[in-house]
Symmetry: C2
Subunit: 110 residues, 2 copies
DNA sequence: ATCCTTTACCAAGACTGTCTAGGCATCCAA
DNA sequence: TTGGATGCCTAGACAGTCTTGGTAAAGGAT
Protein backbone atom coordinates (compact mmCIF):
# COMPACT_ATOMS: atom_id res chain seq x y z
CA UNK A 1 0.00 0.00 0.00
CA UNK A 2 1.10 3.52 -0.73
CA UNK A 3 2.08 5.69 2.19
CA UNK A 4 -0.51 8.23 3.22
CA UNK A 5 0.22 11.91 3.06
CA UNK A 6 0.45 13.65 6.42
CA UNK A 7 -2.55 15.32 7.95
CA UNK A 8 -0.83 18.67 7.76
CA UNK A 9 1.06 20.69 5.26
CA UNK A 10 4.63 20.69 6.49
CA UNK A 11 5.47 24.08 7.93
CA UNK A 12 1.97 25.37 8.53
CA UNK A 13 1.46 24.07 12.04
CA UNK A 14 3.02 27.09 13.68
CA UNK A 15 0.64 29.37 11.84
CA UNK A 16 -2.34 27.20 12.74
CA UNK A 17 -1.44 27.19 16.41
CA UNK A 18 -0.99 30.95 16.48
CA UNK A 19 -4.33 31.29 14.78
CA UNK A 20 -6.02 28.99 17.29
CA UNK A 21 -4.75 31.25 20.03
CA UNK A 22 -5.72 34.47 18.33
CA UNK A 23 -8.68 35.24 20.56
CA UNK A 24 -8.29 33.14 23.70
CA UNK A 25 -5.53 31.35 25.57
CA UNK A 26 -5.81 27.58 25.41
CA UNK A 27 -3.93 24.56 26.62
CA UNK A 28 -2.16 22.10 24.32
CA UNK A 29 -4.80 19.51 23.58
CA UNK A 30 -7.45 22.19 23.33
CA UNK A 31 -5.38 23.87 20.62
CA UNK A 32 -5.22 20.65 18.64
CA UNK A 33 -8.95 20.12 19.08
CA UNK A 34 -9.69 23.65 18.01
CA UNK A 35 -7.66 23.34 14.81
CA UNK A 36 -9.39 20.11 13.95
CA UNK A 37 -12.78 21.59 14.64
CA UNK A 38 -12.15 24.88 12.82
CA UNK A 39 -11.01 22.94 9.78
CA UNK A 40 -14.14 20.87 9.70
CA UNK A 41 -12.20 17.77 10.66
CA UNK A 42 -9.96 18.05 7.65
CA UNK A 43 -6.82 18.71 9.68
CA UNK A 44 -5.58 16.56 12.51
CA UNK A 45 -2.74 17.49 14.84
CA UNK A 46 -0.72 14.69 16.40
CA UNK A 47 0.61 15.24 19.90
CA UNK A 48 4.09 14.40 18.68
CA UNK A 49 3.87 17.36 16.36
CA UNK A 50 1.98 19.63 18.69
CA UNK A 51 4.30 19.79 21.68
CA UNK A 52 7.52 20.35 19.76
CA UNK A 53 5.73 23.13 17.91
CA UNK A 54 4.62 24.72 21.14
CA UNK A 55 8.20 24.76 22.44
CA UNK A 56 9.37 26.25 19.18
CA UNK A 57 6.82 29.01 19.38
CA UNK A 58 7.51 29.71 23.01
CA UNK A 59 11.27 29.78 22.37
CA UNK A 60 10.67 32.35 19.64
CA UNK A 61 8.67 34.45 22.05
CA UNK A 62 5.49 34.18 20.04
CA UNK A 63 3.48 32.51 22.78
CA UNK A 64 3.74 32.48 26.54
CA UNK A 65 2.86 29.55 28.78
CA UNK A 66 1.32 29.38 32.19
CA UNK A 67 0.11 26.48 34.30
CA UNK A 68 -3.59 26.35 35.02
CA UNK A 69 -6.49 23.99 35.38
CA UNK A 70 -8.56 22.73 32.49
CA UNK A 71 -12.33 22.52 32.20
CA UNK A 72 -11.98 18.90 33.25
CA UNK A 73 -10.17 19.92 36.39
CA UNK A 74 -6.82 18.73 35.19
CA UNK A 75 -3.47 20.46 35.37
CA UNK A 76 -2.86 22.03 32.00
CA UNK A 77 -0.43 24.42 30.40
CA UNK A 78 -2.19 27.42 28.94
CA UNK A 79 -0.64 29.31 26.07
CA UNK A 80 -1.42 32.78 24.92
CA UNK A 81 -0.26 34.92 22.05
CA UNK A 82 2.29 37.64 22.69
CA UNK A 83 2.43 40.88 20.73
CA UNK A 84 5.30 39.42 18.71
CA UNK A 85 3.14 36.37 18.13
CA UNK A 86 0.43 38.46 16.58
CA UNK A 87 2.92 40.03 14.24
CA UNK A 88 4.28 36.63 13.38
CA UNK A 89 0.82 35.28 12.70
CA UNK A 90 0.07 38.00 10.25
CA UNK A 91 3.44 37.52 8.55
CA UNK A 92 2.81 33.81 8.23
CA UNK A 93 -0.65 34.33 6.85
CA UNK A 94 0.75 36.67 4.27
CA UNK A 95 3.47 34.20 3.32
CA UNK A 96 0.93 31.40 3.09
CA UNK A 97 -1.33 33.38 0.82
CA UNK A 98 1.54 34.33 -1.41
CA UNK A 99 2.92 30.83 -1.83
CA UNK A 100 -0.43 29.16 -2.27
CA UNK A 101 -1.24 31.72 -4.89
CA UNK A 102 1.93 30.64 -6.69
CA UNK A 103 0.93 27.01 -6.46
CA UNK A 104 -2.58 27.71 -7.61
CA UNK A 105 -1.21 29.54 -10.63
CA UNK A 106 0.82 26.48 -11.54
CA UNK A 107 -2.14 24.19 -11.02
CA UNK A 108 -4.30 26.47 -13.11
CA UNK A 109 -2.05 25.46 -15.94
CA UNK A 110 -0.05 28.57 -16.76
CA UNK B 1 18.06 38.01 11.28
CA UNK B 2 15.20 35.59 11.17
CA UNK B 3 15.53 32.61 8.88
CA UNK B 4 13.65 32.84 5.64
CA UNK B 5 10.89 30.44 4.79
CA UNK B 6 11.64 28.15 1.86
CA UNK B 7 10.56 29.04 -1.65
CA UNK B 8 8.28 26.04 -1.72
CA UNK B 9 5.66 24.50 0.43
CA UNK B 10 7.30 21.36 1.69
CA UNK B 11 5.75 18.35 0.00
CA UNK B 12 4.29 20.07 -3.01
CA UNK B 13 7.26 19.82 -5.33
CA UNK B 14 6.28 16.43 -6.70
CA UNK B 15 2.88 17.74 -7.64
CA UNK B 16 4.36 20.83 -9.27
CA UNK B 17 6.77 18.78 -11.34
CA UNK B 18 4.05 16.45 -12.51
CA UNK B 19 1.98 19.46 -13.41
CA UNK B 20 4.83 21.04 -15.36
CA UNK B 21 5.04 17.85 -17.40
CA UNK B 22 1.33 17.56 -17.96
CA UNK B 23 1.35 18.59 -21.60
CA UNK B 24 4.92 18.21 -22.83
CA UNK B 25 8.07 16.35 -21.88
CA UNK B 26 10.80 18.61 -20.53
CA UNK B 27 14.29 18.30 -19.15
CA UNK B 28 15.21 19.08 -15.55
CA UNK B 29 16.14 22.73 -15.63
CA UNK B 30 13.30 23.46 -18.01
CA UNK B 31 10.89 21.98 -15.47
CA UNK B 32 12.23 24.28 -12.78
CA UNK B 33 12.01 27.25 -15.13
CA UNK B 34 8.50 26.36 -16.08
CA UNK B 35 7.32 26.16 -12.48
CA UNK B 36 8.87 29.49 -11.72
CA UNK B 37 7.35 31.06 -14.78
CA UNK B 38 3.89 29.54 -14.32
CA UNK B 39 3.85 30.80 -10.75
CA UNK B 40 4.64 34.34 -11.79
CA UNK B 41 8.07 34.10 -10.19
CA UNK B 42 6.58 33.35 -6.80
CA UNK B 43 8.01 29.84 -6.62
CA UNK B 44 11.64 28.96 -7.12
CA UNK B 45 12.98 25.44 -7.43
CA UNK B 46 16.55 24.74 -6.33
CA UNK B 47 18.52 22.14 -8.25
CA UNK B 48 19.26 20.35 -5.01
CA UNK B 49 15.55 19.85 -4.54
CA UNK B 50 14.75 19.25 -8.17
CA UNK B 51 16.95 16.30 -8.99
CA UNK B 52 16.16 14.23 -5.92
CA UNK B 53 12.50 14.84 -6.67
CA UNK B 54 12.91 13.66 -10.23
CA UNK B 55 14.50 10.40 -9.04
CA UNK B 56 11.72 9.93 -6.56
CA UNK B 57 9.10 10.38 -9.23
CA UNK B 58 10.88 8.13 -11.67
CA UNK B 59 11.33 5.44 -9.01
CA UNK B 60 7.58 5.58 -8.36
CA UNK B 61 6.93 5.13 -12.04
CA UNK B 62 5.20 8.45 -12.41
CA UNK B 63 7.65 9.85 -14.93
CA UNK B 64 9.96 8.28 -17.45
CA UNK B 65 13.33 9.65 -18.50
CA UNK B 66 15.14 9.66 -21.78
CA UNK B 67 18.33 11.36 -22.95
CA UNK B 68 17.98 13.99 -25.59
CA UNK B 69 19.33 17.32 -26.71
CA UNK B 70 18.09 20.65 -25.43
CA UNK B 71 17.23 23.75 -27.41
CA UNK B 72 20.70 25.00 -26.62
CA UNK B 73 22.24 21.92 -28.13
CA UNK B 74 23.19 20.37 -24.83
CA UNK B 75 22.75 16.86 -23.61
CA UNK B 76 19.67 16.83 -21.42
CA UNK B 77 17.46 14.29 -19.71
CA UNK B 78 13.87 14.60 -20.82
CA UNK B 79 11.08 13.48 -18.57
CA UNK B 80 7.53 12.70 -19.49
CA UNK B 81 4.46 11.74 -17.53
CA UNK B 82 3.35 8.13 -17.46
CA UNK B 83 -0.26 7.05 -17.16
CA UNK B 84 0.33 6.35 -13.48
CA UNK B 85 1.81 9.82 -13.22
CA UNK B 86 -1.36 11.39 -14.51
CA UNK B 87 -3.36 9.52 -11.93
CA UNK B 88 -0.95 10.57 -9.26
CA UNK B 89 -1.12 14.19 -10.33
CA UNK B 90 -4.86 14.25 -10.04
CA UNK B 91 -4.71 12.54 -6.64
CA UNK B 92 -2.20 15.09 -5.42
CA UNK B 93 -4.23 18.00 -6.69
CA UNK B 94 -7.26 16.65 -4.90
CA UNK B 95 -5.30 16.22 -1.69
CA UNK B 96 -3.87 19.70 -1.99
CA UNK B 97 -7.28 21.26 -2.47
CA UNK B 98 -8.65 19.39 0.48
CA UNK B 99 -5.89 20.32 2.88
CA UNK B 100 -5.68 23.94 1.82
CA UNK B 101 -9.40 24.19 2.27
CA UNK B 102 -8.90 22.98 5.83
CA UNK B 103 -6.20 25.57 6.42
CA UNK B 104 -8.27 28.32 4.87
CA UNK B 105 -11.13 27.43 7.17
CA UNK B 106 -8.87 27.81 10.15
CA UNK B 107 -7.49 31.09 8.86
CA UNK B 108 -11.01 32.34 8.24
CA UNK B 109 -11.40 32.20 11.97
CA UNK B 110 -13.83 29.38 12.60
C1' DA C 1 -10.45 0.51 48.26
C1' DT C 2 -9.08 -0.70 43.63
C1' DC C 3 -9.16 -0.57 38.85
C1' DC C 4 -9.99 1.55 34.38
C1' DT C 5 -10.68 5.17 31.29
C1' DT C 6 -9.93 9.77 30.06
C1' DT C 7 -7.41 13.84 30.08
C1' DA C 8 -3.13 16.16 29.70
C1' DC C 9 1.78 16.67 29.14
C1' DC C 10 6.18 14.99 27.48
C1' DA C 11 10.47 12.61 24.97
C1' DA C 12 13.25 9.81 21.77
C1' DG C 13 14.10 8.39 17.36
C1' DA C 14 12.77 7.57 12.54
C1' DC C 15 11.66 9.57 8.37
C1' DT C 16 11.08 12.68 4.58
C1' DG C 17 11.91 16.55 1.71
C1' DT C 18 14.33 20.79 1.00
C1' DC C 19 18.52 23.52 1.08
C1' DT C 20 23.50 24.63 0.84
C1' DA C 21 27.45 23.98 -1.35
C1' DG C 22 29.98 21.86 -3.79
C1' DG C 23 31.48 19.34 -8.57
C1' DC C 24 31.72 17.74 -13.75
C1' DA C 25 31.08 18.15 -18.82
C1' DT C 26 29.90 20.54 -22.92
C1' DC C 27 28.88 24.40 -26.03
C1' DC C 28 29.82 28.82 -27.72
C1' DA C 29 31.58 33.44 -27.96
C1' DA C 30 35.20 36.76 -27.06
C1' DT D 1 42.00 29.50 -24.84
C1' DT D 2 39.46 31.18 -21.57
C1' DG D 3 35.22 32.07 -19.40
C1' DG D 4 30.28 32.08 -19.08
C1' DA D 5 26.10 29.63 -19.64
C1' DT D 6 23.80 25.37 -19.72
C1' DG D 7 22.71 21.00 -17.82
C1' DC D 8 23.19 17.07 -14.67
C1' DC D 9 24.53 15.30 -10.25
C1' DT D 10 25.84 14.33 -5.11
C1' DA D 11 26.74 14.65 -0.07
C1' DG D 12 25.54 16.33 4.11
C1' DA D 13 23.01 19.47 7.01
C1' DC D 14 18.64 20.65 8.66
C1' DA D 15 13.77 21.15 9.97
C1' DG D 16 9.26 19.57 10.95
C1' DT D 17 6.17 15.76 11.39
C1' DC D 18 5.09 11.08 12.83
C1' DT D 19 5.34 6.83 15.60
C1' DT D 20 5.65 4.99 19.79
C1' DG D 21 6.48 5.08 24.07
C1' DG D 22 5.87 7.04 28.77
C1' DT D 23 4.02 9.69 33.37
C1' DA D 24 0.46 11.72 36.38
C1' DA D 25 -3.93 12.83 38.04
C1' DA D 26 -9.20 12.92 37.99
C1' DG D 27 -13.40 10.54 38.24
C1' DG D 28 -16.38 6.76 37.76
C1' DA D 29 -17.36 1.88 38.31
C1' DT D 30 -16.98 -2.28 40.81
Amino acid sequence: MAKEKPDLVYGTLDMLILKALQYDPRHGLAIADRIQQMSNDILHVEQGSLYPALYRLEAQGWIKAEWGVSDNNRKARYYKLTAAGRKQLSAEEEHWLRITKGIDLVLAGG
